[in-house]
C-alpha cells in the first residue's frame, strides 16, 4: 500500500462551504436547547449543588468535617488540585504547542480544549482556597503592603503556586478571549436578535475582519502561544515543587517536574477526549471533530502513557539504587502496603489499558476509546492519591504512622468539582461557538489562495 505523506488529509470532512461550516458551528447558539441539554444540565447541576451545600457546611463547622488529620494533612484538596490543574494542561497544549507546530487538525478541538482549561483551572484553584479553611482570608496570599508589616515568602513553593495558578488562569483566559474576538464579530453580523447583537458587539469590541488587524492579530496570537508553551510546563513544574522541595520520602524527587507535566498532558487529553466524544455526537459535529482527530489524540495518550510508565519505573529504580531505607520502604509500601489497591489501579489504568491503542481498530472505535479514556482519568486521579496520601501515611517514624479515610464531605466536594466543571462546559456549548469559526474556515478546502508571489501581479 503506498501512501503519499506530502498531502495532508482534509481537516474538515464532506467539502462543506464556508457558510455551511458557520451554520453548523453556530447552530447550538441560534436554536433553543433540546431535552438532552436540560437532562445533562440538571445532572451536573445536582452534583454542583451537592458540592456547594457540603462546602457551606464545611465553612460553618470548619475543615474538621473532612478526613484530613495527622499525619495526612494534605489529602483530598491537594489531590484534587493537582488532578484538575493537570486536566487543564491539555487545553493549552492543544491551543499553543500544536499551533506553534502548525498542526492544522488542532483547529477543530482547540476552542473546546481552551475552555476546558479555564474551567479546570477554576476547579483547581478552588481547592487550595477551601483547604486553608477560611477562604475569605485568601487575600493574604498576594504580596501587598499591609498594616502587619509582613510580606509573603518568595522562596516558598506555596507562594510560587499562587503566582503560577493565577498567571495560568489569566493568560489562558486572555488567549481564549483573543481567539473569540473574530467569532463574536461573525456572530454579531449573523444574529437577528437585538439583545444578542448588543452582547456580541460588546465582546467583539468592533472587530471588522480587517487584514490590517489580522496581521497584528496573528503575530500576537503566535506570541501568546509562545508564552503559553513554557507557561504550561512551568505551572505543573511548580505544582510538583510543592512536593519535590519538601523532605518527605516519596516526594523529595528530582524526576517530579517532567513526570508531572507528562501526567498532566496525559490526563488532560483523556478528559478532552471524554468530553469531545459526547459533544460531537450531541451537536452533530462529526464532520468537523472527525474520527481522525480522536485517533490523533489517542496516539498522544498512548505516548504520554508510556512516558508516565517510564517515570513510575524510574522512581522504583532510583528508590532501590539510592540505597535509602525509607525511600525503598515507601515504594514497597505503595505497591504492597495497605493502599496497594490504589497503586495497582494507577498502574493498570495509566500504563496497561492505554497500550490497547497500539491497535488501529481500537484507536478508531468510539465505545472502547470512551472506556479507556475514562479509565485514564480514574487512574490519573489515583496517581495523585498514591503520591500525596500514601507517602504521608508512612514516613520516617513508625510511631507517627497513620491511615487516611476520606469522609462523605471529601467525596461530595470532589463530586461537586466535577459538577462545576461539567455545568460550565454545558453552558459554554450553548453560549459560545465550541469551534473557532474563523480558524476552521481558514483550514477548510480551498480557503487559502494558491501560492503566488506579489511580484507576479506587477
Amino acid at each position: 500500500m503506498s501512501v503519499d505523506y506530502t498531502i495532508e488529509p482534509p481537516v474538515v470532512h464532506g467539502r462543506l462551504s464556508l457558510a455551511q461550516i458557520e451554520e453548523m458551528v453556530a447552530k447550538p447558539l441560534d436554536t433553543k436547547p433540546g431535552k438532552k441539554f436540560y437532562i445533562a444540565l440538571s445532572i451536573s447541576g445536582t452534583f454542583l449543588m451537592t458540592g456547594v451545600v457540603l462546602l457551606l457546611i464545611t465553612f460553618y463547622y470548619g475543615v474538621g468535617m473532612w478526613g484530613n488529620n495527622q499525619p495526612v494533612g494534605w489529602a483530598f484538596p491537594i489531590v484534587n488540585l493537582v488532578f484538575w490543574i493537570g486536566i487543564g494542561h491539555a487545553g493549552t497544549l492543544i491551543s499553543a504547542i500544536l499551533f506553534l507546530l502548525r498542526q492544522k487538525w488542532r483547529t477543530g478541538i482547540a476552542r473546546f480544549a481552551e475552555a476546558m482549561t479555564i474551567f479546570a483551572v477554576m476547579c483547581a484553584a478552588l481547592f487550595p482556597l477551601i483547604h486553608v479553611g477560611r477562604p475569605w482570608l485568601a487575600g493574604y496570599l498576594m504580596p501587598y503592603p499591609n498594616q502587619h508589616g509582613m510580606w509573603v515568602n518568595f522562596s516558598s513553593p506555596l507562594v510560587w503556586d499562587v503566582f503560577a495558578i493565577s498567571t495560568y488562569f489569566i493568560v489562558s483566559l486572555i488567549f481564549w478571549y483573543i481567539g473569540l474576538i473574530p467569532d463574536f464579530a461573525t456572530l454579531r453580523d449573523r444574529t437577528t436578535s437585538k439583545i444578542k447583537k448588543t452582547i456580541y458587539s460588546l465582546f467583539s469590541l468592533g472587530w471588522r475582519h480587517s487584514h490590517r488587524h489580522w496581521q497584528h492579530y496573528e503575530k500576537t496570537y503566535t506570541l501568546l502561544a509562545g508564552f503559553a508553551t513554557p507557561l504550561v510546563l512551568s505551572v505543573h513544574t511548580i505544582i510538583s515543587f510543592d512536593f519535590a522541595v519538601s523532605l518527605v520520602p516519596g516526594w523529595h524527587s528530582t524526576i517530579f517536574p517532567p513526570y508531572f507535566v507528562a501526567g498532566a498532558i496525559f490526563s488532560g487529553f483523556a478528559m478532552v477526549a471524554t468530553v469531545l466524544i459526547l459533544v460531537r455526537k450531541i451537536f452533530d459535529l462529526q464532520q468537523i471533530i472527525t474520527l481522525d482527530h480522536l485517533e490523533k489524540m489517542n496516539k498522544i495518550i498512548l505516548v504520554t502513557s508510556m512516558m508516565v510508565g517510564l517515570a513510575y519505573g524510574t522512581e522504583l529504580f532510583i528508590a532501590w539504587y539510592s540505597g535509602v531505607t525509607v525511600e525503598k520502604f515507601v515504594f514497597l509500601n505503595r505497591a504492597f502496603g495497605p493502599y496497594a489497591w490504589a497503586y495497582w489501579i494507577m498502574i493498570s489504568c495509566n500504563v496497561l489499558f492505554p497500550q490497547l491503542f497500539w491497535i488501529r481498530k481500537i484507536r478508531r472505535s468510539i465505545p472502547i476509546m470512551m472506556v479507556i479514556v475514562i479509565l485514564v482519568n480514574v487512574g490519573m486521579w489515583f496517581e495523585r492519591f498514591v503520591i500525596i496520601v500514601v507517602s504521608l501515611t508512612r514516613d520516617f517514624l513508625p510511631s507517627s504512622w497513620g491511615m487516611y479515610t476520606p469522609t462523605l464531605y471529601d467525596l461530595g466536594i470532589l463530586l461537586g468539582s466535577f459538577g462545576l466543571f461539567f455545568t460550565l462546559v454545558i453552558l459554554f456549548t450553548k453560549a459560545l461557538p465550541v469551534i473557532s469559526i474563523s480558524e476552521i474556515k481558514a483550514v477548510s478546502d480551498g480557503a487559502q489562495p494558491s501560492y503566488h508571489r506579489s511580484e507576479d501581479y506587477e
Partner: protein
C-alpha cells in the same frame, strides 16, 4: 438624501481568495494608502500583497516581559531582603534561585497582558463599535464567506469614478458605495445614565460597608476572634474575686527585683555612689537612653528647651551651678523617684541605664561649661578640634 451624505469609501466583494489577493496587490502597487481588505479569516500571503510592514507588536512583548521580570525580582528583593528579612531554611536573604519561578510567571503575565492591551487599544484603536463599516451589507458578507476590499475617500488619490472603474476591472461579485453614518449624539447627563451611576455607587459602597463592618463579624467568620476562653482583664464567675487572671501569691518578688530603700529621703547621695566607669560603651548607652527618655523635656543638650512646646512646664537647665554641683547619687535619685512634676522613671529605665544617664549628664555639663584652657588641653591630647 443619500447623495448628500459623505462617501466613506467604495467596496468590492469577491468570492475567491485568489481574486482578493490579486486585487489587493494591484491596489497596493497603484500607491493607495487609505484602503483595507476584509476577510472572514486570516488569508495567507495577504501581507505581501498589501505590502504591509512586519508587525512591531513583538517589541512591546519583549519590553514588558523584561519589566515583568524586573518587577518580580525587585519585589522579592525589597520584601524578603530589605523590608521583612527572615531566615528561611538557612537560605540567604536574597535567594535568587528560589525567586526564578515567580520571576518567570510575572514575565509571562506582563508580556501577555500588555501585548494584548497594546494590540487592542494602540494597534486596533478598539473598541470601535461605531465604525462606519458596521451594519453595512458589506460587513455582513465579509463576516460570512466573502472577501472584500475598501478604498476610502480619505485617500489622497481617491476619485469616485476612477476607483469604481478600478475595482470593476478586478471582476468583483458586487460593488458597494459606503456612506458615513449620520452622527448620533448621546448627552452625558441623561437622567437614566446618571441614576444608573448613582445606584451603582450606592450598591458598591453599601456592599463594601456591610462586608467589612458587619459580615466579617458574624458567625462563622468571627470564630477566630471570639473564642470560649477566659482571657486576662475579662470578668469570670469562676473565681471569687471575679478576675479572669490570677494574682501572684502574696510576697512574690519579680525576678531580679531589688527594693529601693531611699524613698522619701531628699539627699541619699551619702549612701549612693556611681558604680559605672565613664567608659565609651557606658556613655553611648547613657546617650541613647538620655535621648529617648530625658531629651523630650530637658532638650538634647540639657538646656531645658523642651520640644513639648508648653504642654508641660519647662524643666530647669542642667547647666546651672546648682545642678552641676549635685553629686551622682542625687541625680540618680531624681531619675528614680522623680522631682516636682517629673515622674519616676524607675519602671522604664533599669538601674544600670540610670547610672549611664548620670554619666552622660556629666559629659553634657562638661561640654557646655569648659574653660578655654581645658579645651586647649583636649585638643592637644586628642588632636581634634572639639570646640567645633
Amino acid at each position: 438624501m443619500s447623495n448628500e451624505r459623505k462617501i466613506y469609501g467604495i467596496a468590492a466583494l469577491f468570492t475567491k481568495p485568489d481574486d482578493i489577493i490579486k486585487a489587493a496587490s494591484k491596489v497596493a502597487n497603484l500607491g493607495y494608502s487609505k484602503w483595507d481588505v476584509n476577510t472572514p479569516y486570516l488569508l495567507h500571503g495577504m501581507d505581501n500583497a498589501m505590502k504591509l510592514k512586519p508587525s512591531k507588536i513583538g517589541f512591546i512583548a519583549l519590553f514588558m516581559g523584561l519589566i515583568g521580570a524586573a518587577t518580580a525580582l525587585s519585589l522579592a528583593y525589597f520584601t524578603n531582603s530589605i523590608d521583612f528579612p527572615l531566615v528561611i531554611g538557612g537560605k540567604p536573604f536574597f535567594a535568587f534561585p528560589a525567586y526564578i519561578p515567580v520571576t518567570f510567571e510575572l514575565t509571562v503575565l506582563f508580556a501577555t497582558v500588555s501585548t494584548v492591551i497594546a494590540m487592542l487599544t494602540i494597534f486596533f484603536k478598539f473598541p470601535s463599535n461605531n465604525h462606519v463599516l458596521h451594519d453595512t451589507p458589506y460587513m455582513k458578507k465579509v463576516s460570512l464567506d466573502r472577501y472584500g476590499i475598501v478604498i476610502e475617500s480619505a485617500d489622497p488619490k481617491f476619485e469616485q469614478s476612477k476607483v469604481e472603474e478600478l475595482l470593476r476591472s478586478f471582476g468583483p461579485e458586487s460593488i458597494e458605495t459606503i456612506y458615513h453614518k449620520e452622527e448620533v449624539k448621546f448627552p452625558i447627563f441623561e437622567p437614566k445614565f446618571i441614576s444608573f451611576l448613582i445606584l451603582t455607587a450606592i450598591a458598591v459602597s453599601a456592599g463594601t460597608y456591610i462586608t467589612l463592618n458587619k459580615l466579617m463579624f458574624m458567625v462563622p467568620f468571627n470564630w477566630m476572634m471570639y473564642q470560649d476562653k477566659i482571657i486576662p482583664q475579662s470578668r469570670t464567675e469562676l473565681f471569687e474575686d471575679e478576675r479572669g487572671m490570677r494574682l501572684p501569691v502574696e510576697g512574690t518578688v519579680a525576678k531580679g527585683f531589688i527594693p529601693y530603700t531611699y524613698m522619701g529621703i531628699d539627699e541619699p547621695q551619702e549612701y549612693l555612689s556611681n558604680p559605672l566607669l565613664p567608659s565609651i560603651d557606658n556613655l553611648k548607652l547613657g546617650e541613647k537612653k538620655y535621648l529617648t527618655y530625658c531629651s523630650p523635656c530637658h532638650g538634647n543638650f540639657g538646656d531645658g528647651d523642651s520640644r513639648l512646646k508648653g504642654q508641660f512646664p519647662n524643666p530647669p537647665t542642667i547647666h546651672s551651678q546648682r545642678i552641676r554641683s549635685f553629686e551622682d547619687g542625687r541625680l540618680y535619685h531624681i531619675i528614680t523617684i522623680g522631682k516636682n512634676i517629673m515622674p519616676s522613671y524607675a519602671a522604664q529605665i533599669s538601674r544600670e541605664e540610670r547610672w549611664a544617664i548620670v554619666n552622660y549628664i556629666r559629659v553634657l555639663q562638661k561640654a557646655k561649661n569648659s574653660t578655654a584652657s581645658e579645651l586647649e588641653m583636649i585638643i592637644k591630647e586628642t588632636g581634634k578640634n572639639v570646640a567645633n
